[in-house]
Symmetry: C2
Subunit: 418 residues, 2 copies
DNA sequence: CTATTTAATTTGATTACCAAATTAAAATAC
DNA sequence: GTATTTTAATTTGGTAATCAAATTAAATAG
């Protein structure tokens, strides 16, 4: 069993295959000649590499369209190009999004088409490593069973969870859902499940999902902002996901937007999260709104319900509620602008599914952000909002698993024993 | 003439040589066996690659120490390793730091040893592209002449200047010293000088200098902060210098540390530079210090002299001056913490030579920074202060030129014409 | 002096890759 | 309808990069 996606050493002579597969993954369906142009390989080499990959069942040709079909209406003369794509049936992988609230599972084929999904509430907010491992395994087995699959059908499992994850080592350094630190979750799961496991930070997986399936398909430099409980971020530079020294980093939620500012859950002051997180908004609402309705923002009503009420207040024109959201939006714009000033990405993807965060994706906020970035270096980044559900986080985990399976597959090309 | 350092395409079969040279550059002197371990290449391959590079004059073996010398006192049994290093005499390159105030030139050999230097005041703050080109060429010719060299001795010139530089295309998108935009400075210089030219943003070159010659030699993830007129930054992730979409980015000086904060030269509000730049400090001093001495902070005294006086006031215990510096320090710590929260580098290098910025490198400031970064992800980054002069910026430019010359050299291995 | 240990090299493949020539499959010209 | 042109893909023949295994080199330990 080979460990996770790794770097390409100059020694391993698979860079050509990797480049070809990567091109096909990014822009399938694609013809050999385009692969040659995109990778810089010669057509001859592309022919030989693709022939090998087809033989091994990873790729397939797309049968040519019948004449006069819309697809080749604007046809040119010359031998028609034959498009290639990944062979969906080549591998089946699972992607799991684990959080303290819900655990979501998807099963996808090799091209990333979802063939099954399954979702269960997570029993506890915080668990031990062993409990977490057991729960993930049980969920996977149940999900497979309900959809008529078994673990032996899978070539890999990708798992995303919040916190600081050392993806290369497969160790969860810290997670809000774990009562322990430095948990070797990958190896624990791998030995229980008996197949390849890949773990990553959940925000990084959303980023991977955007890169593989979403708005990031065409961009080489982009960042993804996720808003759930906290504010997460994933960074892609030159087509590669950036990780900090310990797999940590990208803690946008705890960048400071105000000196000696609002108190954050992390104990520090002025964190972005302390201005845009729902607890921060409710805190403000509690402390200031003095009309009879204010009690509804207090415990023990659930955070979600109270947030919905606050949003409703703002929609009804309550000036205080509006002011609360407005400040949060301005702070968000400031935090975002800082990232842009540091990276100059071509694209920002604001990703999330909870409607109560719409105020952060408001045109005013985007405008604020645009007015806070350095102007000289070319056009400002494109800002796109992409709303989606937990399933897409799990899809990112699946994409990560596919990447891992491909690497395993390519590294597995050992020459025959003499 | 081949254009600047470029990416390694999978197609060009020089990755092994590049890896070997890179290892030697990072950790010379180094034995073949260590190169093999570091690169993942087999010892056989390292032997053959190094033999070729030695033949071509790029490398040389270090003659073994005589017995009982301190160097091999703790010797082990077995065949002794033979250390390798770059051959200094292989190439001579120039590095130039150009700014609106001073232009500094160094000439270094292939291992980065400085063999000559030359420095002249830049005649105008802002110039046209042609004037800039002419001035740089003249400076280079003069500098070479004074030290007994001629342009034909050089294999390349690296040039660093402030602003937004598209290093790949060799175009200065914008610079405070240029009256025009999108200046193709590399090609202009190249056709005038007749040798390979490489241009880059000056902060990126300091970063390169740290990586090649300085504190960054051992780190794979680090950032370099430079304080001159503005606040600059260079980012190295996984051993590679990060550039934004247009070669821009890393504008730490214009990240926002305060919503609707102090007015910055760039026209926006709350930029870090508007709190730590000398004009910002003097502005505060002017507006608030009402004692008779205050006039000395006004024009037309030069910025530098006025800054020195303000620093002296603080040293004498003037509470207002102290307060001005203290706030600047806190803001600096905040901006720095934000970068760390996003990148999680293992090392921060604070680089600069002007003593009046000592207050930013104060222990209090570092402490503030440490208290503003996310705690879970492992140890906080090491913070090192590295003071040096303009020469070292120029050394960075030279290091960049060496890199470019190496790439040219390796790409130039064309097979014989049939 | 012999055995051991480590570094480096040599030998003999194998593989990845490319340039150039060739074949394939279409549209267009006549 | 046949020849020509055009573009894609493949085949051919060869080169350069790389490796595994065996060998040689140069030291120390006993």
């Amino acid at each position: 069993m080979i460990n996770g996606p790794t770097e390409a050493l100059p020694g391993n002579r698979t860079s050509g295959k990797k480049a070809v597969l990567s091109t096909i993954r990014n822009s399938a369906p694609v013809a050999r000649i385009d692969i040659a142009n995109a990778t810089g390989l010669s057509p001859a080499t592309v022919t030989s590499i693709t022939a090998d990959l087809i033989l091994r069942g990873l790729l397939e040709e797309i049968p040519p369209e019948p004449a006069f079909s819309p697809a080749n209406a604007n046809t040119k003369r010359g031998r028609p190009r034959v498009n290639l794509q990944l062979r969906g049936a080549a591998h089946l992988v699972a992607g799991i999004k684990f959080s303290g609230k819900t655990t979501t599972l998807v099963i996808v084929n090799f091209v990333g088409t979802r063939v099954a999904e399954y979702s269960v509430p997570t029993p506890f907010d915080v668990q031990t490593a062993q409990q977490t491992c057991d729960f993930i395994c049980t969920t996977l087995w149940q999900g497979l069973d309900k959809n008529g699959y078994s673990i032996s059908d899978l070539s890999g499992v990708g798992i995303g969870l919040p916190g600081i994850v050392d993806a290369l080592e497969g160790i969860i350094r810290w997670s809000p859902t774990l009562s322990e630190r430095d948990v070797p979750l990958r190896d624990m799961l791998q030995s229980t499940l008996g197949i390849n496991v890949f773990v990553e930070n959940d925000a990084n997986l959303v980023t991977l999902a955007e890169q593989q399936f979403g708005l990031g398909k065409t961009a080489r430099n982009f960042i993804v902002i996720t808003i759930e409980q906290g504010v997460g971020m994933g960074i892609v530079i030159d087509g590669k996901l950036i990780r900090g020294t310990n797999g940590s980093g990208a803690e946008l939620g705890h960048t400071k937007v105000q000196l000696d500012g609002a108190l954050c859950r992390c104990g520090q002051r002025g964190c972005l999260e302390a201005y845009v997180g729902d607890y921060a908004l409710l805190r403000e609402a509690n402390s200031i709104m003095t009309n009879p309705k204010s009690e509804q923002f207090h415990h023990p009503t659930s955070t979600e319900i109270r947030m919905q009420k606050l949003v409703a207040e703002a929609r009804d024109g309550n000036l205080i509620a509006l002011s609360i959201f407005r400040r949060a939006g301005r702070m968000f714009a400031l935090g975002l602008a800082n990232v842009i000033n540091i990276f100059a990405p071509e694209l920002i993807i604001l990703s999330g599914d909870r409607m109560q965060y719409d105020f952060l994706y408001d045109a005013d906020v985007i405008e604020d952000m645009r007015n806070s970035i350095v102007q000289f270096g070319g056009p400002p980044p494109d800002v796109r909002v992409h709303k989606w559900s937990d399933h897409m986080w799990a899809m990112g985990a699946a994409a990560y698993a596919i990447e891992g399976v491909i690497n395993t597959e390519l590294q597995g090309v050992k020459k025959n024993v003499v």
